[in-house]
C-alpha cells in the first residue's frame, strides 16, 4: 500500500488547525489550571514544529531543520512541565535546561559543521527520550500514590511510552543502524507511516491530559459529596463507601453529644458549630490511620475501628470520652460543658454482617448510655440478634470535670 504524502500533509494540517480551534475553546474552561497553560503552549510549539515539515521538501535548509528540532524539543519540555505542574512536583528545571543547551549545541555542530544527520538525530532523539522517560516516571509515581486516579495516569503514560517507542524506531535505531536511510528521506520522516500517525499524535498525544483532568474533577465531585462541610470529616455516604475497605473484625461506635440542644440554645448556633468542629481535635492522635470517622448528621458521629477487639475499642472510646469532657470550649468567655455518650457494637465483615445493622445496635447501646446518665459508654453484646442488656462501662459518671 503506497500512501500519498501530500494527502498526509493535508491531514496533518487539518488536525493542527482543529487542535488550535479546540484550544481556543479549552482556554475559558480549563485556562485557570497552570498545567493546562503549559500544555497549550506545548501544542502551539508542536504545531509550529510540524508545520515546518509541510514546507516544500526539496529546499530544506539546515536552519529549518535546527528550528524544527528546537520547536519539537520545546514542545516536549513544556508538555513535561505540564505534567509536573499537574502533580505539583519539583520540575528540576535547571537540569532540563542544561540538557537542552547541550543538545542544541550538538545539533548546531552536527548541522552546520559536520553536516551529519546521524549525530543530529541521535542528540535530538536521546534528549526527547529522556524527557519521555521522566514524564513516564512522574505518571507512574503518581498512579502509585493515588490509586483512585491511577487509571488515566497509566493511560497517558502508555501514550508517552508509545511515542517514545516510535521515536526510538524512527530516530535512534534508524540513525544507528541505517544512517543512509535517514539521509535518503531528507532527514525528515522515516517513511510515510509516521506521517500517517502524526494526526494521532496531534490528537491523543496532545489532548490525553484532558482525560486526567476529567477524572480528577470527577474524583473531587465524589469527594465533596462524601465530606461533611462543617467538620471536614466524612459524611454518611462517605462512611459507607470507605467501610468497604474494612474486612477484618472491628468495632463500630456511635457517639452523640449530650444536651447539645442546650448548648445551641444557650450560646447560639455558632457555639454549637464550634463544639462540633472541635471534635476533630479530640479524636486526633487517638485513632489509627485505618479507622474511619464520619459525622452522621446533627451531633452524631460514627467511628469504625479496624481490626480491634473489645478491649482496644473500649480503650479508644474511653480516651475520646475523656478528651471531649476535658476539652475547654470557650465561647464569649463562658465555658460550654460538653460530653459524649457512646455506644459500641462488634462488626464482623467476615461473617457477612451488615454494617447498618451493627450501627443500629451501637445506636441502641448509645441510648442505654444516655439513660445511664450520659458521658459514658455502653457496649452491645449481642452480635447475632437478641436484645442483651449491654456491658456497663466501669465508671459511668466520672470525668465530667
Amino acid at each position: 500500500m503506497v500512501l500519498d504524502e501530500v494527502s498526509l500533509y493535508v491531514s496533518v494540517l487539518v488536525c493542527e488547525i482543529c487542535g488550535v480551534i479546540v484550544l481556543a475553546f479549552l482556554w475559558p474552561i480549563h485556562g485557570r489550571e497552570p498545567a493546562v497553560r503549559y500544555w497549550i503552549c506545548a501544542f502551539l510549539s508542536y504545531f509550529a514544529g510540524t508545520s515546518l515539515l509541510i514546507a516544500p521538501l526539496e529546499n530544506v535548509t539546515a536552519g529549518i531543520v535546527v528550528l524544527r528540532d528546537l520547536l519539537l524539543l520545546t514542545a516536549n519540555i513544556l508538555s513535561y512541565l505540564g505534567i509536573v505542574a499537574f502533580f505539583r512536583r519539583n520540575p528540576h528545571t535547571h537540569w532540563l535546561m542544561l540538557g537542552l543547551l547541550a543538545t542544541i549545541l550538538v545539533i548546531a555542530y552536527a548541522s552546520y559543521i559536520r553536516d551529519s544527520a546521524q549525530i543530529r538525530t541521535i542528540a535530538y532523539s536521546s534528549y526527547v527520550l529522556l524527557i519521555y522517560i521522566l514524564a513516564i516516571y512522574q505518571l507512574i509515581k503518581s498512579s502509585l500514590e493515588s490509586p483512585q486516579l491511577a487509571f488515566t495516569f497509566r493511560f497517558v503514560a502508555a501514550i508517552h511510552a508509545l511515542s517514545a517507542g516510535m521515536l526510538m524506531s524512527r530516530g535512534l535505531l534508524a540513525a544507528v543502524i541505517q544512517p543512509e536511510y535517514i539521509s535518503a528521506t531528507n532527514q525528515l520522516w522515516a517513511g510515510s507511516l509516521s506521517l500517517l500517525l502524526t494526526p494521532a499524535g496531534l490528537f491523543l498525544g496532545n489532548f490525553a491530559f484532558l482525560l486526567m483532568l476529567s477524572q480528577r474533577l470527577k474524583f473531587e465531585l465524589i469527594k465533596r459529596g462524601h465530606t461533611d462541610t462543617l467538620t471536614e470529616l466524612l459524611n454518611r455516604a462517605g462512611f459507607f463507601e470507605a467501610s468497604d475497605a474494612i474486612t477484618r473484625d472491628s468495632y463500630v461506635a456511635v457517639l452523640d453529644f449530650d444536651h447539645f440542644k442546650k448548648v445551641n440554645d444557650a450560646f447560639g448556633h455558632a457555639a454549637g458549630d464550634r463544639v462540633l468542629a472541635s471534635f476533630t481535635r479530640c479524636i486526633a492522635g487517638v485513632l489509627r490511620p485505618n479507622d474511619i470517622v464520619a459525622r452522621a448528621g446533627g451531633e452524631e458521629f460514627w467511628i469504625l475501628m479496624d481490626d480491634t477487639d473489645s478491649e482496644q475499642a473500649v480503650g479508644i472510646m474511653e480516651r475520646i470520652r475523656k478528651r471531649v469532657a476535658g476539652s475547654s470550649n470557650l465561647y464569649e468567655g463562658q465555658r460550654t460543658p460538653v460530653t459524649v455518650s457512646i455506644g459500641l457494637c462488634k462488626y464482623q465483615p467476615s461473617q457477612k454482617q451488615n454494617l447498618k445493622e451493627a450501627i443500629h445496635r451501637a445506636d441502641e447501646a448509645m441510648f442505654q448510655a444516655k439513660r445511664a446518665g450520659r458521658n459514658c459508654w455502653r457496649i452491645s453484646n449481642d452480635v447475632h440478634g437478641g436484645t442483651g442488656k449491654g456491658i456497663e462501662s466501669p465508671n459511668p459518671l466520672s470525668g465530667t470535670g
Binding site: D4, S7, P28, L213, H269, G298
Partner: protein, 386 residues
C-alpha cells in the same frame, strides 16, 4: 510533484483519527460510566470501521459488499446523535430519523438489487446522514448548559452543520458523475474527507470538554447547595444578607424566618436516619414551592432552616409562614409501618438594613428566639417576632 492528492490515503488517515477518538471515548467512559459517552464511543467505532473497510477496498480486491460501509457510517452518526441526546437529556426525534432510515434502506436495497451506480448508494447515505447531522446541530445550538457557557456546544454543533453541507456537495458530485468510484478525485470528495476528519477531531475533544464543563459546574454548585435537599446553604444566606447591606434603600422592610421540625430527633431515633432524611427532603420540596426567588430557603444543618424574604412586610411574611406550616402538615411520609405527619415551628422577625450589625447576629437571634416561643407552646405554628 503530483498535485492531485490520493483519496484512498485520506480515507486511511481518517480511519486512524477515528480509531483514536474511539480509544479516547472508551477511556472516558471507563472514568465516568455515562451512557452518553458509551454512545459516542460506539459512534466513533462504527465510523472508524466504515473508513477501514473503504481503505481495504482500495488495496485488496473488494471482499465485502460496498453498502456495508454505508450502513456503518449511518450507524456511527446515529450513535453519536443518541449520545448527544442523552447528554443533553432531550428526546430522540424518531419522527425525523425514521424517514431518513427508510429512504436510506430503500436506496441501499435498490443499489444492491439493481446494481446501479454508486451515486444511488451515496444518495441513501446523504439523506440519512444529513438528517442526523442537522439534528445534532439543532440540539447543540439550542442547548442551554446550566453554567451558561455555550462555546463548546456551538463549536461541535457548527462542525456538524459544515459536515451536512459537505455531504450534500459530495452527493451532488457523485450523482453528476455516473462513472464515479469511491476514490475518484473531485474537490467535493476531498472536501468531504477533510471535513470528516475535522469533525472527528473537534467533536471527540468537544464532547470531552462538555463533560468536564458539566462536572466543574456541579462542583461550583456543590459549594453553595446542601447535597441532601438541594437547597442553598449558609454561604448563600450570608451573601444575600451582604447584598441587603449593600442596597442603598434604607427604609425597605425585610423578613427572616427560622424554622425547624418538631420532635425531629425522635423521628430519627425511632425510624432511623434514612426516614429522617426522607422527611426533610419531602417537606422542603413542598415548602420550596411556596418560596419564589428572590425569597430563599436555606438549610443551615440538621433540621434547621432559614427563610429570607427581602422587601416583605411582617404581615406578608406571617401569611407565608402559616402557609408553610399548613404545607408541612399536609405532607405524609410512609415508613411502611406508620405514616408520619411532620410539623414545623416557625419564628419570624422583621428588620431593616440598619438592624444588620455584626453579620446579622441580632436578627438571627430574634428569629431563633421567636421559634423557641412556638416550641414552648407545643410547636406546629408561627410566632411573628420575639
Amino acid at each position: 510533484m503530483t498535485v492531485q492528492p490520493d483519496i484512498a490515503t485520506l480515507f486511511a488517515a481518517t480511519a486512524v483519527l477515528q480509531l483514536c477518538a474511539t480509544i479516547l471515548m472508551f477511556f472516558l467512559w471507563r472514568v465516568h460510566k455515562a451512557e452518553a459517552i458509551r454512545c459516542w464511543c460506539l459512534g466513533f467505532f462504527c465510523s472508524a470501521l466504515s473508513a477501514l473497510l473503504v481503505g481495504l477496498e482500495s488495496t485488496v480486491a473488494p471482499v465485502y459488499p460496498l453498502y456495508l460501509s454505508t450502513i456503518l457510517v449511518v450507524l456511527g452518526g446515529s450513535y453519536f446523535y443518541f449520545g448527544i441526546a442523552k447528554f443533553l437529556e432531550v428526546e430522540i426525534k424518531w419522527s425525523l430519523l425514521i424517514p431518513g432510515y427508510v429512504a436510506a434502506t430503500g436506496l441501499i436495497v435498490y443499489y444492491a438489487v439493481a446494481d446501479s451506480q454508486l451515486g444511488i448508494l451515496n444518495l441513501g447515505y446523504s439523506i440519512a446522514g444529513c438528517i442526523i447531522y442537522l439534528l445534532i446541530f439543532y440540539e447543540l445550538i439550542r442547548a442551554t448548559p446550566s453554567g451558561g457557557r455555550r462555546g463548546v456546544y456551538r463549536l461541535v454543533g457548527i462542525t456538524y452543520l459544515v459536515l451536512a453541507i459537505a455531504t450534500i456537495k459530495r452527493c451532488e458530485f457523485m450523482l453528476a458523475h455516473s462513472d464515479a468510484t469511491l476514490f475518484s478525485y473531485g474537490p467535493a470528495q476531498y472536501l468531504w474527507l477533510i471535513v470528516v476528519q475535522a469533525t472527528t477531531y473537534i467533536s471527540a475533544l468537544g464532547c470531552l470538554l462538555m463533560i468536564n464543563q458539566q462536572i466543574m459546574q456541579r462542583l461550583d454548585q456543590s459549594t453553595t447547595t446542601d447535597p441532601l435537599t438541594g437547597l442553598s446553604n449558609r454561604r448563600v444566606l450570608r451573601k444575600a444578607i451582604a447584598k441587603i447591606v449593600a442596597d442603598p434603600n434604607e427604609q425597605s422592610c425585610h423578613a427572616l424566618a427560622f424554622f425547624d421540625f418538631d420532635h425531629f430527633k425522635e423521628i430519627n431515633d425511632r425510624y432511623g436516619h434514612d426516614i429522617g432524611d426522607q422527611v426533610l427532603v419531602t417537606v422542603t420540596r413542598e415548602l420550596a414551592k411556596l418560596i419564589r426567588p428572590p425569597r430563599m430557603i436555606i438549610r443551615s444543618g440538621g433540621d434547621e432552616f432559614w427563610v429570607l424574604m427581602p422587601n416583605t412586610s411582617l404581615e406578608e411574611a406571617t401569611e407565608i409562614a402559616h402557609a408553610m406550616c399548613r404545607a408541612a402538615d399536609a405532607t405524609e411520609i410512609d415508613t411502611n409501618s406508620v405514616i408520619i405527619h411532620p410539623t414545623i415551628s416557625v419564628g419570624l422577625t422583621s428588620f431593616k438594613k440598619a438592624d444588620i450589625v455584626n453579620g446579622g447576629a441580632k436578627i438571627f437571634n430574634d428569629a431563633d428566639a421567636a421559634m423557641y416561643q412556638v416550641k414552648k407552646m407545643g410547636g406546629g405554628t408561627v410566632c411573628p417576632g420575639p
